[in-house]
Amino acid sequence: VTNKELIKFLREHRDDKVFGGGDFDFQKSWNKFADQYGFEKDSGAVKITLSDYGAYFTHTVSQSVLQPAGAIVASLVLIFGGWVATVNASFGSLPGDFLYPVKLATERVQLTLAATSEQKARLHTEFAGRRLDEVIEISSSSVEGKVEKVRGAVESFKESITSATNAVSDIATSSPESAAAIAIAVDQKMEVMASVLSIEEVNENATEEHSEQIAEAQSSVAASDHSLTETIVSSNETAQKDSTDRYLQDSFKKDMLEIDSRSAALLVRVDNIALAVADGRTTYDFSKNLEVIREVLDDSAEQMNKAKTYFAAGGWRRVLEIVTDLKIKLTNAEELVLDMEIEISTGGSSLPAHQ
């Protein structure tokens, strides 16, 4: 067989169904996609109008000329106008302070000048850390409008966390090999932030609203942590490296220890509730709820055994799936137990029935 003959054969059979050929109805496939994901079905031809051209070119000019020019001018003003000291002074400012806008403007300039997604991911993580510092500092102070300021800082913290995670996802799409290193770096910083938040969580002087905001910040960190771990696992699947293996090993070991200890604590709480029921300290029928939680704990033990087997074999994707699933189930079970404990201690009747 010569190359020519082979090419001829391939071209002759290009429409063969074995080679994925045959009729293809784009509209039919689009309609199916539109049904599944709630998109518009009727998709006539798009007309590009003059205003589209105008909007696009205005946007392009502002992106490619005005923004960099603005950044350069701002940099020159900062450097030559003797503003460096002002910027330095602004680093310690808090929301509401006179210099706080300078701090934010400096951060925006840094982001504009960042050339790659990697730099952006690192900057967003750095800024998230700053917002967290602000949250802690304001909440322990007695400044005017404290509640609003903390709320604003928590929102900014969540935005920075999301932006950092999105920047890592961008790298994962364009360059999976280098995504792991940056994902690990960002994840390590997130871990520090999670520790700070967990200390703040048990702050006895915190108001209910503040506790809710801390809980929101914690769930943002948890979501980002999951997304980053997913990126590291995918990268490890594409190009297995000792560094990602080691990182995943440590990270999942911590997760599994956490699940073990949460399960053990939950079991003790469930036993205490069962004891309270037996002693007649509540009239509410907890049998269904207790049964459900015991099932969760049994399932958790079984799944943990599987996770440990996959862990030993380096099956990180499966470990991630199991650990994520168990954390969600345990959180739900913990909430249900808390409801029952409140019911017993208050003797109230507001406990929702198990869904």
């Binding site: 067989v1 082979l6 391939l10 994925g20 496939s29 590009i48 799409t173 364009s174």
Partner: protein, 178 residues
């Protein structure tokens, strides 16, 4: 480099979340994408599901970020969807040989059918994902080397060498068996 029309459509998607612009922009690549999924996945339904998932993920990406190569992005996502499919199915029995039901409709002679299936099996066996895609785009979709290069995000020269090497490799493998 993206064409101006494509850039404007992408701009409309990103800033206005314009679904019709998205329809227009993926239409051009849909044929090659469908063939890619049909070649790689066991059933027509799997190929259709993979197509929908790929469109949805591409939409999410395009509404959040700017892209430099749309076709590169589409096929990167498509390859990850296929990899995910086999990862999820690894514990199940998946028929990896073609579309059984469809192949019954072939009007080709028995011997040609055998040859075609043998060539496909060999392509799936000896080429990795990227190589299969490059080969498919060049010889089944009939794209020029420059267009193939854009879709697999390599230089034109590297793609030309790759395609030549793949054709030679396939020829040698097929001849070996004969």
């Amino acid at each position: 480099v993206l064409k101006v029309k494509e850039k404007i459509l992408l701009f409309k998607i990103r800033t206005l979340r314009d679904e019709r612009a998205f329809n227009e922009i993926v239409r051009e690549h849909a044929g090659a994408l469908q063939r890619f999924f049909k070649m790689k996945l066991p059933r027509i339904e799997d190929a259709e599901d993979a197509f929908s998932i790929t469109l949805f993920r591409t939409w999410n990406y395009l509404t959040a970020a700017e892209v430099e190569s749309l076709s590169g992005l589409l096929f990167t996502i498509a390859r990850s969807v296929v990899a995910e499919f086999y990862r999820n199915k690894k514990n199940e029995t998946v028929p990896i040989e073609g579309h059984d039901q469809e192949t019954e409709d072939f009007e080709d002679s028995f011997s040609t059918k055998l040859e075609v299936e043998k060539v496909k099996a060999k392509i799936l066996e000896i080429f990795n994902d990227e190589e299969q895609l490059a080969f498919q785009l060049r010889y089944f979709d009939g794209l020029r080397v420059r267009e193939v290069a854009k879709k697999i995000q390599r230089s034109e020269n590297a793609t030309r060498v790759l395609i030549h090497r793949l054709l030679k490799k396939l020829r040698v493998e097929l001849t070996k068996k004969v």
